[in-house]
Amino acid sequence: MSDPASATDTWADAERVAALIAVAPSLLGGLRLRAGPGPVRKLWLETLQTLLADRPLRRVPLHVTESHLLGGLNLTATLSAGHLVAERGLLAQCNNGVAVLAMAERCQRQTVTHLCSALDNGAIHLQREGIQEIHPAALAVIALDEGLPDEHTASALNERLAFYIDLHNVSIRDVDDGEYTAMDIARAREQLPNVTVSDSQQETIAAMATVLGVSSPRAWMFTLRTARVLSALTGRSAVHDDDITQAIRLCLAHRATQLPEMPADLDTEEAQQDPETPDSPPEEPQNAPDQEQPSSEQKTALPDQLLEAATAAIPAALLEALTANAKAVAKNPHSGTSGALQRQLQRGRPIGVIQGDPRRGGRLSLIDTLRAAVPWQRLRDQADADGPRRIRIERDDFRLVRFNQRSPSTTIFVVDASGSAALHRLAEAKGAVELLLADCYVRRDEVALIAFRGQSAELLLPPTRSLVRAKRSLAGLPGGGGTPLASAIELADAICDQVTRSGHNAGVVFLTDGVANIARDGSQGRERATADALTAAANLASRNVTSLVIDTSPRAQSRAKRLAEALDARYVAMPHADAKRLKGAIAQTQGIG
């Protein structure tokens, strides 16, 4: 993808998307823009701003507070006026325009939820602090995603954004002059209501969605709307088949969960690609069971030329990107959350009040504020030359509600699925994990699952509460291959870091025989592998998380014991474990089970 031709194409797409969004922001939901900060992204945002002309474009900062986002009580105005004064939030200010969400992959779940509801309803329903109002907020969201390969924006948000563009490979040299002007956009807005779509074109979209395994009706509608806006941009009054093709490429391709049936030569090309990219084995997308498999009758029911048009719509080069994408999308549950401290100010069970500044994101307790102000009224009246007023509230009077939030715990399972372990214990380990999942379900804890085999460790399941997902990813866990213990521990370390940052307690459960034979760099050899593993273990131990090593080898071995020592973990030998006993052992380890 680094060749200049495709980079220019990507930029052209990005530009087109900017124009599309400028024409009808609220119709298309928006764009997930994967790009690092830099001149290209900046230029794109400037282009969008130019095309939007007088419509608003606002930045939503990462740590935006709920009251700022939604609006709410304007405290200063309320106090001075003596009656409630509401304030429009950031989202309402974006009405008819665009909200740019910076570092979308790190943004808080609350923020994502509010953005989604604004996208769905085109309005903000304010129910806060004694105010109930509806503010129109028909907007598009540009989610700036600068995450690492494993970090992604929340899937609920992705679902509501029509487009996805990756600008990582576009350099500022590949960028050419803007194709559209604000005039074009204005014309297109006028043209848009007159654009018609034929029945067969609607069928094409439905058929393509099925072929690509895109099951969300939202995506279908995005495709149709995009086609319509595209033809409005070119000034046509009827959607051309090319518009449909374009729209499918822009809206459906990145959501695809399965590949359309392609000519044989493409398939082989695919197969050849795989060994070169060990990071993306042809793994099944997570939602495989939900995925429709178009039955043979359905396929024959489709007119041939439709399928032809459909397959032609997908350029060959896209297919690789598509497999990578589908996997990434399926794997990601929520974005990483941050700001554990701030949360304590805003949610949980109220446990009293504290003096403080409400602008820092806390929730004002008006009654306690008033109560604090009352004794001083006389004095303040006397001190003020203007004479008595009904009430005088000063900054020191402000009281904030304090919340107590139970900090949830996350258990990370690290399962050895290598050849040596798989033979004996994989099924048992799976059973134990399933039993524990049932427990976590009851207590609403989160679980994450790391499996290691072959060359590297893989995060099968990022921290989640969803049993459905956990079970699914566990069931699909294959066994065999080398034992890259060191990289597994490192990955667990990274996840622990992520988990504790978001305010959870982390616990790690290793199910392994402790026999490492793949070193950190992927080379073979027991000695180095073991040394690496112990170093990694010591690192993890310094993090002070509770961990447990369950020896799954048929006879208790010193290796797993050594690992447990390095980890500062409890060691449990399970020579003939069954799932129930394993579970018991885990439950005993305080803070984990």
Partner: protein, 341 residues
């Protein structure tokens, strides 16, 4: 306010529509939970239902939409103390959104801050629960609702009364509403206590066959292009359904439940091992609503069978890991029980 998509124009998703209609006929059925894939029209259906429902009589000037037909029980303090004859006005059935960011004071009600600041008066400002009285309370992404809000909801949903003891206020008012929740199971599980509060549950998935999909796209597109014309076009069907629900509502109290229907309901529940009597009661209620919707005055075993999956699916003593099984288990048990009968 944006115009809602017509209920009758929703393609497929028959289970969901059926469940919502049952809840509209008999509000005591205990709420509807809709879980499913993204973009399957969960929210659309519920907002559509709001537009469809017939108006109700309320006591004039009452801030809790009290029912003028009711005797002392079930009325708010003001209406109880009032004159013997209560004046009534027509009002649309409330369908109240509980947004995820809502604060607890807005949900259960709190001190009227404006009055407190302005007049120095201690007055209660009713919250969302009061507004939803006799109507629907809709929570999108119900599985993401914060725990302390869930606690407040559970309490009120169980007792039908909202008791406020805070900020120097001591107020109680009736709050009976149909809880409608929707969400995506991939985002997290629902708390078991909350799950239990829902009378009916439905799972929605995207339709698989192409012609249905084309139909969805076509109707939705038509709606988006000219909302008013679309509403006009569907007005007749909407009106027909509204009449059907109205008739069913007046009929449902008179629907009789013969012993054999009761027996088979009990047998199904026993065979499935559902906890408590709630499942059985809800099963009978839902079957009565279905009978009323068809204009019939006698519950048959067929009605029971029809609603059993809706009522019982989320009540099975759950093996939390057996995700696919509950539907299959119900089908099997239904087959056995009905064959034996």
């Amino acid at each position: 306010m944006t115009i809602a998509y017509p209920f009758t124009a929703i393609v497929a998703q028959d289970d969901m529509k059926q469940a919502l209609m049952i809840a509209a006929v008999d509000q005591d059925v205990g709420g509807v939970l809709v879980m499913g894939d993204r973009g399957t029209g969960k929210s659309t259906a519920i907002r559509a239902l709001a537009a469809l429902l017939p108006k109700m009589d309320v006591v004039k000037g009452c801030s809790y939409q009290c029912d003028p037909e009711k005797k002392t029980a079930g009325l708010c303090a003001m209406c109880q103390g009032d004159k013997p004859v209560l004046k009534s006005v027509k009002q649309p059935l409330p369908v109240v959104d509980l947004p995820l960011g809502a604060t607890e004071d807005r949900v259960i009600g709190s001190l009227d801050i404006e009055k407190a600041l302005h007049a120095g008066e201690k007055a209660f400002e009713p919250g969302l629960l009061a507004r939803a009285h006799r109507g629907f309370l809709y929570i999108d992404e119900v599985n993401l609702l914060e725990d302390h809000i869930v606690d407040a909801l559970l309490d009120v949903a169980a007792s039908g009364e909202n008791v406020v003891e805070r900020e120097g206020l001591s107020i109680r008012h009736p709050a009976r509403f149909v809880l409608v929740g929707s969400g995506n199971p991939e985002e997290g599980e629902l708390r078991p206590q909350l799950l239990d509060r829902f009378g009916l549950s439905v799972e929605v998935t995207t339709p698989k066959d192409i012609s249905t999909r084309v139909e969805i796209i076509r109707l939705r597109d038509e709606f988006e292009r000219d909302r008013e014309a679309f509403i006009q076009k569907w007005r007749r069907k909407e009106a027909a359904l509204r009449r059907k629900i109205e008739t069913a509502r007046s009929l449902v109290a008179d629907v009789e439940t013969p012993t054999e229907a009761l027996e088979i309901a009990a047998r199904v529940c026993v065979a499935l091992g559902t906890d408590g009597l709630r499942g059985e009661l809800t099963l009978i209620r839902a079957a009565r609503a279905v009978a009323a919707l068809r204009g019939e005055v006698l519950v048959t075993t067929a009605h029971v069978r029809q609603v059993a999956p809706l009522v019982l699916k989320h009540r099975l003593r759950r093996d939390p890991l057996d995700d696919a099984g509950s539907g299959v288990r119900i089908d099997r048990v239904l087959q056995e029980v009905f064959e034996a009968a």
